[in-house]
């Protein structure tokens, strides 16, 4: 990717996010996608592209760095823990999020409440997920519950996801179909963008 292409792609991705999309990035190399996600995290770039950067709370998780026996609880705790240190997390929500993340078994309904309360405070959590295809090596129950909850949260207010994967939406939908035989496929709420 040239610097110019990166600039226009960044601009487009921030626009996607600002208008309420969840985005699925595929194509390009692992390094290109990782670099793009790191740029998306950069607060200096936020100021250039986002009208109200303080509205967004950014967190990043790399599925390649999580162990093969990752649980649903570990995924969400690893993903959201950095939020507790962020200045723009509304004070009223910090104890609630802390208590939710500190419990030994994460309750998805509590997490749903957190995202909805965040939305009431005019904030959006942005979750950048790198190397999502690595999740296919996790226990089946973790794959299913992680992807179900990710879909559920990000189709409501309060959470937006930008996912990077070497495999495209249709491939992942097919490869997870047996875990999800009824209802919507896990990835049908994402706008697919190819690098």
């Amino acid at each position: 990717m040239s610097a110019r292409v990166e600039e226009s792609l960044l601009s487009r991705l921030y626009q996607d996010l600002y208008s309420g999309h969840n985005v699925f990035l595929t194509g390009g190399s692992i390094q290109q996608r990782a670099q793009l996600l790191q740029q998306l995290l950069d607060p200096n770039i936020h100021k250039r592209f986002l009208p109200e950067p303080e509205q967004f709370l950014w967190v990043y998780i790399d599925c390649a760095r999580l162990p093969a026996n990752t649980s649903l609880t570990l995924f969400w705790k690893s993903a959201l823990h950095p939020t507790l240190e962020q200045q723009n997390l509304p004070r009223s929500l910090k104890p609630f999020l802390q208590a939710t993340l500190n419990s030994s078994f994460l309750d998805l309904f509590d997490l749903e409440t957190y995202f909805l309360k965040l939305s009431d405070e005019q904030r959006v959590q942005v979750l950048l997920v790198d190397n999502l295809e690595m999740l296919l090596k996790w226990p089946k129950e973790t794959i299913s519950s992680t992807l179900s909850s990710l879909r559920s949260f990000s189709s409501r207010a309060g959470l937006r996801a930008i996912i990077s994967s070497s495999k495209g939406i249709e491939t992942l939908n097919q490869q997870t179909a047996l875990l999800n035989q009824y209802g919507s496929p896990f990835f049908n709420i994402y706008l697919e963008r190819r690098l």
């Binding site: 998805l108 129950e141 179900s148 249709e170 939908n173 999800n180 035989q181 209802g183 049908n188 709420i189």
Partner: protein, 416 residues
């Protein structure tokens, strides 16, 4: 900012009409009757469910919002270790939190750590709420996902759900699912060999259709000129997701180019919808899939190049599939044209079918049963030898440069 947001539930100005469906559901709700919103992918089930959650508009339909406590649940958040007790506990907690007074009878079932719910007492609590002139309305998104969960895909979950929602007027459900009630019941009956009952027939179905032309015009006209709306309608038919995506691409074109090329995004439109169309395709049975292929061929009849492609019998052959065509219409895959005939309304879907389900069969000596097998049509008695012979006849007539001819032929005459 681009006003069109495909792939997300619609709200605000992007939520269109659905007046009749809201009235139907809320009328039933007033009588204590539960509803099931049934429809194909991205037809707007979740959007309508979220709209219903906003009780402020209910007064328009003659309901007093103060008599209703609304609880939203999504079956995607139930993991495999969850049980029906967790389901009931969530409902009770949320209702008690939203309306501490009206839902007070549910308070005993909200205690953390109390795992077993006595369903007899729970039923009595909902009866009590009903006799006080109150109702708890539970909006359940992705209802069919309960079949993915071992503790829920059982009559021990479905039967009490039916009993409580039917007996007490204090509990009303509105669910969303891709599967119809009959299909859901079929799946439940598979779970237990001796079960042939209809445990879900307390849910009255509501099917969602595509949008009306006047609503599409009203929605898009602040954002696109007449030519842009015409192109969006051509690409998308009346399907909500397809219209949102067409709108997004065409709005960008308008913002980027002083002289917009409205037809410049067709390939991108189809590519962006590939996963959606595959999802839709998987949900159709073999005969419905075949009916769609026949409809595309019918649309092309006589248009490709008269001499080399003439499939006069296709329309006649479609009569074998009358039931499938009707069902595809009811599920908003097809729409009615000005003559009242069922047609594939979206050029995008037609192009996708041509490229993915027909074109690969063209240009080689054809063994139709083999082709059907490769094209995922399951023969098992669904298609007769007579039908196969007829198909063999018209497929052989398809010219080898089929895709380019077909793309051109599918456009309105003034664009060819």
């Amino acid at each position: 900012m681009n006003p069109f947001i495909p792939f997300q539930p619609a709200f605000g100005a992007n939520f269109l009409n659905r007046e009749a469906e809201q009235r139907e559901i809320l009328d039933r709700l007033g009588m204590g009757v539960s509803s099931a919103l049934v429809g194909n992918p991205h037809i707007g089930k979740t959007s309508l469910l979220r709209k219903l959650a906003d009780t402020k508009s209910w007064a328009v339909y003659g309901l007093d919002p103060s008599q209703y406590t609304v609880v939203e649940l999504n079956f995607e958040l139930f993991t495999s270790e969850k049980t029906p007790d967790d389901f009931w506990q969530q409902i009770c907690r949320r209702a008690a939190l939203a309306s501490p007074q009206s839902a007070a009878p549910l308070q005993p079932f909200t205690v953390q750590g109390k795992k077993r719910i006595d369903l007899g007492f729970l039923n009595e609590a909902f009866v009590k709420i009903g006799t006080q002139g109150q109702r708890v309305v539970v909006l359940i998104d992705e209802f069919d996902k309960f079949l993915n969960l071992p503790n829920f895909a059982t009559l021990d979950f479905v039967n009490p759900l039916r009993a409580i929602a039917s007996v007490s007027t204090g509990l009303v459900l509105v669910t969303t699912s891709r599967l119809s009630i009959a299909e859901l019941q079929g799946e439940i009956n598979k779970l237990k060999q001796d079960s042939q009952g209809s445990p879900l027939n307390f849910l009255q179905p509501v099917s969602l259709q595509g949008f009306a032309d006047k609503d599409i015009q009203q929605w898009m006209s602040p954002h696109l000129p007449v030519e842009g709306i015409a192109e969006a309608r051509l690409l998308a038919g009346r399907h909500p997701l397809l219209l949102q995506l067409a709108g997004k691409l065409l709005w960008s074109e308008k913002e980027t180019n002083s002289i917009p090329r409205w037809d410049a995004h067709r390939d991108k439109f189809v590519a962006n919808l590939d996963a959606h169309f595959r999802d839709l395709w998987r949900y159709l049975d073999a005969r419905a899939q075949f009916a769609l292929v026949l409809m595309v061929l019918r649309d092309l009849e006589g248009q490709l190049s008269g001499k080399s492609f003439n499939v006069e019998k296709v329309s006649q052959d479609l009569q074998w599939f009358t039931a499938e065509v009707k069902r595809l219409g009811e599920r908003a895959v097809l729409e009615k044209n000005a003559q009242g005939e069922w047609v594939i309304g979206s050029l995008g879907l037609r192009l996708w079918l041509i490229e993915n389900k027909i074109a690969a069969a063209v240009g080689t000596p054809l063994d139709v049963p083999q082709w059907l097998h490769h094209k995922e049509f399951k023969l098992g008695g669904l298609i007769t030898n007579e039908e196969i012979a007829a198909i063999q006849g018209f497929v052989q007539a398809i010219p080898t440069d089929f895709i380019s001819l077909a793309k051109k032929a599918l456009l309105p005459k003034d664009l060819q």
